[in-house]
Amino acid sequence: MSDGRTISGATGGAADGDVGATGAAGSGATGGAADGEPLFDLPGELAIDTDVARQAIAAFIRGQLKQAGFERAVLGLSGGIDSALVAYLVAEAIGAEGLLCVMMPYRTSSPASRGDAEAVIADLGCAAELVEITGMVDGYFGRDGVAGEGGPAALEAAPLRRGNFMARMRMAVLYDRSVSWRGLVVGTGNKTESLIGYTTLFGDAACAFNPIGDLYKSQVRQLAAAIGVPEAIIRKAPSADLWPGQTDETEAGFSYPELDRLLFWRIDKRRSTEELVAKGFTPELVERVDRMIAGSEFKRQVPPIAKLGPRTAGVDYLYPRRRPGSAARS
């Protein structure tokens, strides 16, 4: 990836999320392959067997739905690669007829993303809906100097605050459509953004289950290419689309392939800082990413409940989410 790549952006929200934890854009690292020739840059140690991944993920999606007593699924389709990939994976697992894709643009969202989302819908032949969130968001923050329900101060809200609110409005829409469509909300966040906290708590991170949450962005690209996600979606720079021209990588100051490699060696392969530096990562980058991981630990866990009674959910009352009697009755 190079910083000079064409920016088209995604509608963010349910799919690509927004910035929950950014530091000052420190220099960090240089990008990987720069010439734009390959469809994506895939570090060798991250390469997965995409056939096995598709088998495992299809079984996972079918299993999650079956145990919950559902036959359908709903997701927010942004036009970005993550939600596009999940749409293809769900269609492969249960058939496109069981999938509802909801496009939820805000008035400033990139029109190109809308076009990319529509290309996915047309290719899959799944159900689709367009729900503009502009009224919901502007109704709170206000618009053109006129205060909304959030009061006059909300008119001055920073992009990050607005972006988080947008992600939560999209979540609210998806959970409502979950009822009308009678389908479970499928998560579309990847492992990279989850580990560095580039997600909105109870926003894009909210879902019934997530089939790609253990795949790094580079692996998402590899799987997307294998399953037939349109090339334009794979090629474009990932973006939360909170403001025109924003991209994940320019904002964070490092490329996904490099970040993915660092996370893989740090988290999955338990390498120490010294060992990572010996692999060529700068100490500054390692330290910065460590801070992002630690600082977002709370986003990856359910909130703690004060332990007061004899048996407490998540502490010493430990049941599987799905068990006899838990499935929805049709």
Partner: protein, 308 residues
């Protein structure tokens, strides 16, 4: 000798739903019988599902449970290995695999190694078994039962084979993980298991029968890939990964004799030497004997010397 037809019931148990899983076992036992199978193997916790947590006590069965007797009754003229949560009279819970034959419960193996690390939390909910024995069988050879993690310890297959097992049966609920392309068949778990089982079959010159479940419990997707490996260590049959089904394969038990004559590894084992060395290690770990490999100056039972 007539070939033995082995049926691998690579099923996706419903988590916590004993009745549904019992019905599925009856169905597949009948199907395997119709297919001419002599040995039918179901996966670890096939009657209950794997990730039970607090459900474990709610689906537990005592060995005198009538539902188990009904399942045994369905094995006339057959051998079957089934697995469930067993509750002892003193109310410990075990992950059990039992050999059912000719209408009776013939042998009970309680899982001896309970993984409690990484993604596993078995010791929190279960008690470990204390016996490794080969079970006599209507098949005319000893059968060695083991459950999943039991096979991640070298002593298990060795003890079973030395005790007379010629068919080592491992029933598993192995969650698939590590999708790296560098792995054989694209799945780290499958690569590790295949390596282990081939080695065990070769080293014990026995058949290894591996039945792993499919389906999903919570985050975990079980990968299937059940196998039968011959006493030379060569694959006889491999079921597909992630696919539910009843898979049958014929084996010639005379292969065991041929291999053991050719390669008398078991004959040449030295159990008395192994036992002696184990006793020494146990005494050293307990601080009851001097530890020759400890750092000089280390206190008894510790392998590190503390400088003061």
């Amino acid at each position: 000798m007539q070939p033995l037809r082995i049926a691998l019931a690579q099923i996706a148990p419903r988590l916590g739903d004993l009745e549904v899983n019992l019905a599925r076992h009856h169905e597949l036992l009948a199907e395997a019988r119709d297919a001419g199978a002599g040995l039918v193997v179901f996966p670890e916790l096939g009657l209950t599902g794997y990730l039970l947590s607090d459900l474990a006590s709610e689906v537990a069965m005592r060995l005198d449970d009538p539902r188990l007797a009904q399942l045994a009754a369905a094995t006339r003229g057959l051998s079957a290995v089934v697995s469930f949560v067993e509750e002892s009279a003193d109310h410990r819970l075990f992950i059990a695999a039992v050999l059912l034959e000719d209408g009776e419960l013939r042998y009970v193996h309680r899982k001896i190694h309970l993984p409690t690390y990484g993604m596993f939390d078995e010791r929190r909910f279960f008690a470990p078994g204390d016996m490794i024995r080969a079970a006599p069988s209507r098949l005319g050879v000893g059968v060695g039962l083991a459950v999943c993690e039991d096979f991640w310890h070298l002593s298990t297959p060795q003890l079973l084979a030395l005790d007379g097992a010629q068919i080592l049966v491992n029933v598993s609920s192995s969650p698939g993980r590590d999708l790296a392309m560098s792995n054989e068949v694209g799945l780290g778990t499958a690569t590790s298991w295949r390596t282990l089982m081939r080695a065990y079959a070769q080293l014990t010159t026995s058949f290894v029968v591996f039945c792993n479940r499919v389906g999903v419990d919570e985050s975990l997707s079980f990968w299937g890939g059940s196998e039968v490996i011959g006493p030379t260590g060569a694959l006889v049959f491999g079921a597909p990964m992630f696919e539910e089904g009843l898979f049958t394969v014929d084996v010639d038990l005379a292969d065991v004799r041929r291999e053991r004559i050719t390669l008398p590894l078991l004959r040449d084992e030295r159990p008395e030497l192994v036992a002696r060395e184990w006793r020494r290690l146990i005494a050293e770990r307990a601080g009851l004997a001097a530890d020759g490999s400890a750092e000089p100056g280390a206190a008894a039972g510790f392998d590190v010397a503390v400088d003061r």
